[in-house]
C-alpha cells in the first residue's frame, strides 16, 4: 500500500521561487535572509492593526503584505514613531510590498537592521492576497510519491500502476504516439490542492525521460515534441494492471461496481485491468479514460443498460 503522506515545510525563498512569475515578484531587499527562513503559518496577513499599535492576535508567523493603506498610514506618522512601529515586524518571516511599490529609505534601513527579506509584487494587494494564498497552500499541501506512470488522455488524468515490468511505460509510449501527453513515468507525485482535487506531476529531475526496456532511457519531448508532455494534471482515474489469473474474482465484468482508492483522503475511481498476451491494452486504457469522462458528464453506460434491462424484463413479467 502507499506510504503515508508528508506535508512539506516551506521557506520564504521557496515561496518566492514558486511565485516569482505567477505573482510577478522581485526581490526588494535582503534576499539572502530568505534562505532557510521558514513560514510557520501558511497564510498571508495585512498588518494594519499591528502597525497602528494593536498587537493582540497579531499573526506574526505569516508573510506580511503591505499595501496602499499600510504605506499611507506609516507615511502619516512622525519619523521617529514610524521606526518604532516597524519594530512590530521584527519576527515576521518576510514582507511583500504590493503594486510594485519600493521601500522608502527609513523602512529599508529597519529591514536591513532586522535582516528581514522583502519582496515586491506588481499585483494589486487584493489579487496578490488571493493568488498568494492559493500558491502557498498548494506548496504545503499533503503529497505522496507513488509508483506509477501518469498520462493525460483527452483531458482525463490517468495513473497506470502495476508491478515493474508489466508494461506501464510501453502503454504510455503508445498513448503518446496517439497524441496523448505524459505527466510522469514510473514515479508520480500526487498532491491534494487547495480545492481538494488530487494533482499529479513528475519528480523534476526525471520529468522529461522514460525508460523503455530494450531501448534504455529516452527523452520524450525531444522525440515527440513539447505537446507530448504535461507539467501537471488532475488525477481522475487509477488503472491497475495485473497479470490475468484464472478465476480472478476482482475483475469487474459489468462496470457496475465502481471501486475507489483513497488518495490523501480523496476517493479516486479505480479499475483493475487484466494483462494477457494479445490484449491491446493501449486501446483499453484509452477507452477507460473516455468512459471516465462520460461518467463525469453524468453518463454511466453500465448503469443505463442495466436500467433498460430491468424495464424490459419487468414488462415480460
Amino acid at each position: 500500500m502507499w506510504r503515508t503522506a508528508e506535508s512539506p515545510r516551506i521557506t520564504v525563498a521557496d515561496f518566492f521561487e514558486a511565485g516569482r512569475s505567477i505573482l510577478q515578484m522581485d526581490w526588494e531587499a535582503n534576499p539572502e535572509a530568505a534562505v532557510g527562513r521558514e513560514i510557520t503559518e501558511v497564510a498571508l496577513n495585512r498588518p494594519g492593526l499591528a502597525l497602528a499599535g494593536f498587537l493582540r492576535y497579531f499573526a506574526y508567523r505569516r508573510i506580511q503584505v503591505l499595501g496602499l493603506a499600510e504605506m499611507t498610514y506609516l507615511g502619516s506618522l512622525p519619523a521617529a514613531e514610524r521606526i518604532e512601529r516597524l519594530q512590530t515586524l521584527a519576527h515576521v518571516p518576510g514582507i511583500v510590498m504590493s503594486r510594485g511599490r519600493r521601500l522608502p529609505a527609513y523602512f529599508r534601513q529597519v529591514c536591513a537592521r532586522l535582516g528581514l527579506p522583502v519582496m515586491r509584487t506588481h499585483l494589486v494587494t487584493g489579487h496578490f492576497m488571493n493568488a498568494g494564498t492559493v500558491l502557498m497552500q498548494n506548496l504545503t499541501s499533503p503529497r505522496i510519491r507513488v509508483p506509477g506512470t501518469m498520462i493525460e488522455i483527452n483531458g482525463v488524468g490517468v495513473l497506470l500502476e502495476g508491478e515493474p515490468g508489466i508494461g506501464k511505460s510501453e502503454i504510455a509510449l503508445a498513448l503518446i504516439k496517439r497524441g496523448h501527453s505524459l505527466v510522469a513515468d514510473d514515479t508520480t507525485v500526487l498532491t491534494r490542492d487547495s480545492t481538494g482535487a488530487i494533482q499529479g506531476s513528475a519528480v523534476p529531475i526525471t520529468r522529461e525521460h522514460m525508460e523503455i526496456r530494450g531501448l534504455g532511457i529516452i527523452h520524450v519531448p525531444g522525440l515527440f515534441g513539447v505537446a507530448s508532455m504535461r507539467d501537471g494534471m488532475r488525477l481522475d482515474l487509477i488503472i491497475r494492471m495485473q497479470k490475468a489469473a484464472v478465476g480472478a474474482d476482482d475483475i469487474d465484468r459489468t462496470g457496475l461496481d465502481a471501486q475507489f482508492r483513497d488518495v490523501l483522503g480523496v476517493p479516486v475511481p479505480l479499475i483493475a485491468v487484466p494483462v494477457a498476451a494479445g490484449r491491446d491494452l493501449t486501446n483499453v486504457v484509452e477507452v477507460a479514460a473516455l468512459n471516465q469522462r462520460m461518467k463525469q458528464m453524468g453518463h454511466d453506460a453500465a448503469r443505463e443498460l442495466d436500467e433498460k434491462l430491468k424495464v424490459a424484463l419487468a414488462r415480460k413479467d
Binding site: P147, P164, D186, T187
Partner: protein, 100 residues
C-alpha cells in the same frame, strides 16, 4: 481501498542501511546495475532516502531518489529471498558500483 496486494509475512521483511560511496552517486549506470541485481530476486525490494521509498526494480524510480555521494540509504526487502537480495544490493554499494 483495494486489497489485492500480496501480503508478506513480517518475519521475512529485512532492512539494511548503506552509504553511496562512488563519487557520482546513483546515476544511470549504477541504477541499471541495481535494477539488474534486484530483478533477479522474487521479493519486493525498496530503496529509501529521507523517508522517500522507491522500487529497486525500476530505473526511473531509483533516479528520482537523487542518491548523491555520501547519502545514507536503506534497503528494504520482503519475501522469501530477502536476505540474499539485500546482500547482493549492499555488495554493489560497497564495490562503488565498480566505479572510481
Amino acid at each position: 481501498m483495494d486489497s489485492s496486494k500480496k501480503t508478506t509475512p513480517a518475519a521475512a521483511a529485512l532492512t539494511r542501511e548503506v552509504t553511496v560511496l562512488n563519487r557520482y552517486g546513483i546515476h544511470a549506470r549504477p541504477a541499471a546495475l541495481l535494477v539488474k541485481a534486484a530483478t533477479g530476486f522474487a521479493c519486493e525490494i525498496l530503496l529509501e532516502k529521507n523517508g522517500v521509498k522507491v522500487n529497486a526494480k525500476s530505473i526511473m524510480g531509483l533516479l528520482t531518489l537523487e542518491g548523491n555521494h555520501g547519502a545514507k540509504l536503506k534497503i528494504h526487502a520482503s519475501g522469501a529471498d530477502a536476505a540474499a537480495a539485500i546482500a547482493a544490493l549492499a555488495d554493489l554499494f560497497e564495490r562503488k558500483f565498480f566505479e572510481d
